[in-house]
């Protein structure tokens, strides 16, 4: 088994059971996955694990780690993860969050920026976009949401291997689990916290990078301007001809920008 292949571990963490994927060695990078559950062990993660320890917690209630009843908001989940970081001695990690996971990362930064060496947000939810709306996960079948999440589904081999073809019953069940928990935590206000913009004032000194596809059809890129306002020194890198998944759609550029930013 290559060191950049991942293993799944399950631990007792902060009073609950948590599963996570891990690979590689070195300084930890905490990866917070999206609203549809963890998509799989991705090419960019495999590459990053060559030089860093990559940790991907599987969010409680999203189909693998059991649901935690006291967690009823993304803020609650952020606090839970902060406790886990303390227990597991991951404090000082770089964190990178994707979409819904980006919102979690932002909340964690707003609660306790000192737990991270750096913050990377990839097309994060959490702040209501000033133009456009965050796509409603519940208005149409998940296949349509997935198709809308990349600019050109046919041209991405990795996307096709993850989400192409007919959905199996297992995948259907998996998506139901994940979207049910996303609903439980973020139904209203939809996928955002009106206070987050203000709370991020606490994270003003945390080195922050945002990566966003210009053609993102899930979370409009207009939200980036508010994130930049909120975290005054945040850097924003836009990806042309790219949708909601720069890490899959333009992996090379994504990794380059990420590598420059990590501590």
């Amino acid at each position: 088994m290559a060191k950049s292949d991942c293993k799944q571990k399950t631990i007792a963490a902060a009073g609950a059971e948590l599963s996570y994927l891990k690979a590689g060695k070195g300084k930890p990078v905490l990866v917070l996955h999206e609203e549809l559950g963890n998509p799989g062990w991705l090419a960019w993660q495999r590459q990053l694990a060559e030089t860093r320890k990559v940790i991907v917690p599987l969010h409680p209630g999203f189909g693998v780690s059991p649901r935690i009843d006291w967690i009823r908001s993304v803020g609650d989940l952020a606090n839970y993860y902060a406790q886990v970081m303390l227990e597991q001695d991951w404090v000082g990690a770089d964190v990178i969050g994707f979409s819904f996971g980006g919102w979690i990362a932002a909340e964690m930064a707003a609660q306790n920026p000192g737990q991270f060496a750096s913050l990377t947000l990839v097309a994060p939810m959490g702040i209501k976009p000033p133009q456009g709306v965050i796509r409603d996960l519940f208005e149409a079948p998940v296949e349509q949401y997935l198709a809308a999440s990349v600019k050109d589904p046919a041209s991405s081999e990795e996307f096709t291997s993850l989400f192409g073809g007919a959905m199996t019953p297992e995948q259907f069940e998996h998506f139901q689990d994940a979207t049910a928990e996303a609903a439980r935590l973020a139904w209203q206000p939809y996928m955002n916290n009106p206070a987050l913009y203000y709370r991020l004032g606490l994270a003003r000194d945390l080195p922050t990078l945002m990566l966003w596809g210009k053609d993102d059809a899930i979370v409009p890129v207009s939200a980036a301007s508010l994130y930049q306002d909120a975290i005054r020194d945040a850097k924003l890198v836009l990806f042309k001809d790219c949708g909601h998944r720069p890490e899959i759609e333009q992996t090379g550029k994504f990794l380059k920008k990420l590598a420059n930013h990590l501590s």
Partner: protein, 435 residues
């Protein structure tokens, strides 16, 4: 036996091609609603309910669906309140209030006021609400069952506790509960729980000694649920009887078979019940339990290829939704006639089919799901009701006496003792011959 009439009270003039293009009634834009026409329809439907009372039906039944031309009655308590005033004798049954979608204190007030104005003729019904009701009211589907349970408990308390008192629950909080609105019926109104094939609902109904109202489900799964109810009833210490069971069945009558089928075809306007709402709206994530989600994942997959065909089958109807989306109302109508979901004919052809249901299911409540949609005229509708009242209902009442099928008014649900052996008696008769 209690014999009621029920209709969906649709916005009939919704353009059929819009429903077909949308592949469902739910989601068709409300720009197609003409409030003047809708107002006239509401009044016609109320007149038909009055007519039902005049004809001798025991009850009039309403339901509620939001954001859907399939049912104009989005806030059925409004219609129920009007009926409370304009009718004198019939029971007004509400099948049902979607509890998770409501403000339970407000609902407690509304229902109590309806009961007071009617002189104690309200029959309440509690439902979870279909998935699309959650979406249409922005209610978190993941909390649907919790909200249902909490709202139910709260409403019963609001009706029976002396106020002012204070309530702080998980989903609802009222720090001053003192409604000057209490039902006349004590301890609270007669209650029937409408259901499809949810085991949890059958258990809930039995534990609370509510009657269980099967909504036009096929006979075998209906009997399964009734047996589950009866088993739970036995655990609770009572024998379930016909007073515990109600059945909703589509029935229309006309002077000739041809006219009856012309009328009956309006049930499948736009694709009918299977086109009510697309599956992704019926089952939003979080609405179903984990076990039900698993069943759904496999029920909706093609056993040959294991491919999930999410828009494939409407559970329980045996009718393929994709078939209806290819839009062949003739085929759909024939299917629904064949599988018994629609009974349409002259009284002579209708009666044996009803007898068959009465023999097998033994319900104490029978609700005739009548037609108003599509191109149904008021004349057709009222003629059908008259034929039913004159030629079908009297025979049904005779059969109810013969088969011993008391209504909840005659025998209170939950009041029958178990046999001395302790083993419960059967509640339905699967062996009865087909009509």
């Amino acid at each position: 036996m209690h014999i009621a009439t029920f209709t969906e009270r649709p916005y009939g003039p919704v353009p059929e091609e819009e429903v077909i293009r949308n592949a469902s009634f739910f989601g068709v834009s409300n720009r197609f609603l003409d409030p003047v026409k809708a107002g006239a329809l509401f009044n016609r439907y109320l007149d038909e309910k009055l007519y039902a009372e005049e004809l001798g039906f025991d009850g009039v039944m309403l339901n509620e669906h939001h954001a859907n031309p399939f049912t104009l009655g989005a806030v059925m308590d409004v219609e129920a309140a009007i009926l409370a005033r304009i009718t004198r004798r019939v029971k007004i049954s509400l099948m049902g209030n979607p509890l998770p979608v409501a403000d339970p204190l407000r609902l407690a007030e509304e229902l109590a006021i309806i009961d007071m104005i009617s002189g104690g003729r309200l029959v309440t019904g509690w439902v979870r609400g279909a998935g699309c009701e959650q979406i249409a009211n922005n209610i978190n589907p993941t909390y649907n069952r919790e909200r249902f349970d909490e709202a139910h408990d709260f409403i019963l308390q609001a009706w029976t506790r002396d106020g002012p008192w204070r309530y702080e629950g998980k989903h609802y909080e009222y720090r001053h509960v003192n409604p000057w609105a209490k039902p006349i019926q004590k301890p609270f109104p007669q209650t029937w729980i409408p259901s499809l094939v949810s085991p949890e609902t059958a258990v809930f109904a039995a534990r609370n000694r509510y009657s269980y109202m099967a909504l036009a489900t096929f006979l075998p799964p209906t009997m399964e649920m009734w047996n589950l109810y009866a088993d739970t009833a036995a655990e609770e210490g009572f024998q379930a009887g016909p007073e515990c069971f109600g059945y909703l069945q589509k029935v229309v009558c006309a002077d000739t078979e041809e006219e009856a089928h012309e009328l009956g075809k309006n049930y499948v306007y736009g694709g009918g019940q299977p086109a009510f709402a697309r599956p992704e709206w019926m089952f939003p994530a979080g609405y179903n339990s984990k076990a039900a989600t698993k069943r759904l994942a496999y029920a909706l997959s093609d056993p040959e290829t294991n491919e999930a065909v999410v828009s494939g089958k409407q559970a329980g109807s045996g009718v393929d939704v994709t078939e209806t989306r290819r839009y062949n109302n003739e085929v759909l109508y024939e299917n629904l006639l064949r599988n018994g979901q629609i009974i349409a004919g002259t009284p002579d052809t209708v009666l044996p089919k009803i007898r068959h249901i009465l023999e097998r299911l033994r319900p104490g409540i029978f609700s005739i799901w009548h037609i108003e949609g599509g191109s149904t005229t008021q004349e057709q509708s009222m003629r059908s009701m008259k034929l039913l009242a004159d030629h079908v209902l009297p025979q049904m009442r005779e059969w109810a006496r013969e088969l011993d099928l008391p209504a909840p008014d005659e025998v209170r649900p939950g009041s029958r003792k178990l046999p001395p052996s302790g083993q419960r008696d059967p509640v339905c008769d699967p062996g009865a011959r087909a009509a």
